[in-house]
Symmetry: C2
Subunit: 113 residues, 2 copies
Amino acid sequence: MAREILFISVAARVLGMHPQTLRKYERLGLVQPTRTVGSMRVYSREEIERLQLIKRLVDDLGVNLAGVQQLLSIADVVERMRPLLSDEALDRPAGRRQLGREVEHITRLLGMS
Amino acid sequence: MAREILFISVAARVLGMHPQTLRKYERLGLVQPTRTVGSMRVYSREEIERLQLIKRLVDDLGVNLAGVQQLLSIADVVERMRPLLSDEALDRPAGRRQLGREVEHITRLLGMS
DNA sequence: TATAGATTGATACGACGTGTATCAACATAA
DNA sequence: TTATGTTGATACACGTCGTATCAATCTATA
């Protein structure tokens, strides 16, 4: 298994994106690559996948970066919800309560109050 | 209780939006006001609330209309999920399965596969 | 019916967001 | 040291979005 640690030029080529775009996304807080001691950006597997999701939202759906922020936040909540949908979790009252909180979290993100 | 049926100029004033903006939102499929026999737009309570949500997403968060489309779709799913979170629904296997399908629906909307 | 006011659909324009090209300064490896 | 890549900043072209404008049509009232 490769470590899949990429510098910005390779990451950009793999993703089909411009290096400047990746830098701008970081400046806006959409991704947070780590840095080498010389302050060079290092992209992990997780950030590459996050950038692929962003690319789909932007290129295919036409969502702007403010919308990407919201959708990524919702995606994080959905990711936390998934294990709460198992029968073991749904059998416990605590699991049900946690699930309710996550759904309410999405409604707050959407301003549905 | 008032019927809360508004023509476009009153609806725009209530919402703090421009009538042309409401027409453009309809053309893009974000809202679907009914029409009088003379083809004048009629805004119901539900559409006013939908427009308030759109306005928050656009004005406060800076989301563009493509992002609003996605977020409204997710909001619809969340609305369908809410009754599935009751104990009565979660006690039935059918309710649990339906809940899982709705969550999966959101993941598809986000392209999380 | 006639008249005034509102709505409709279409077009156009200004402001803003976004991707990317460019640049000098710095980092890295040979 | 030299060559190549990265960093951060600036600038520009293009598309999106809100809204102003217009003639034609609808609606209500006199």
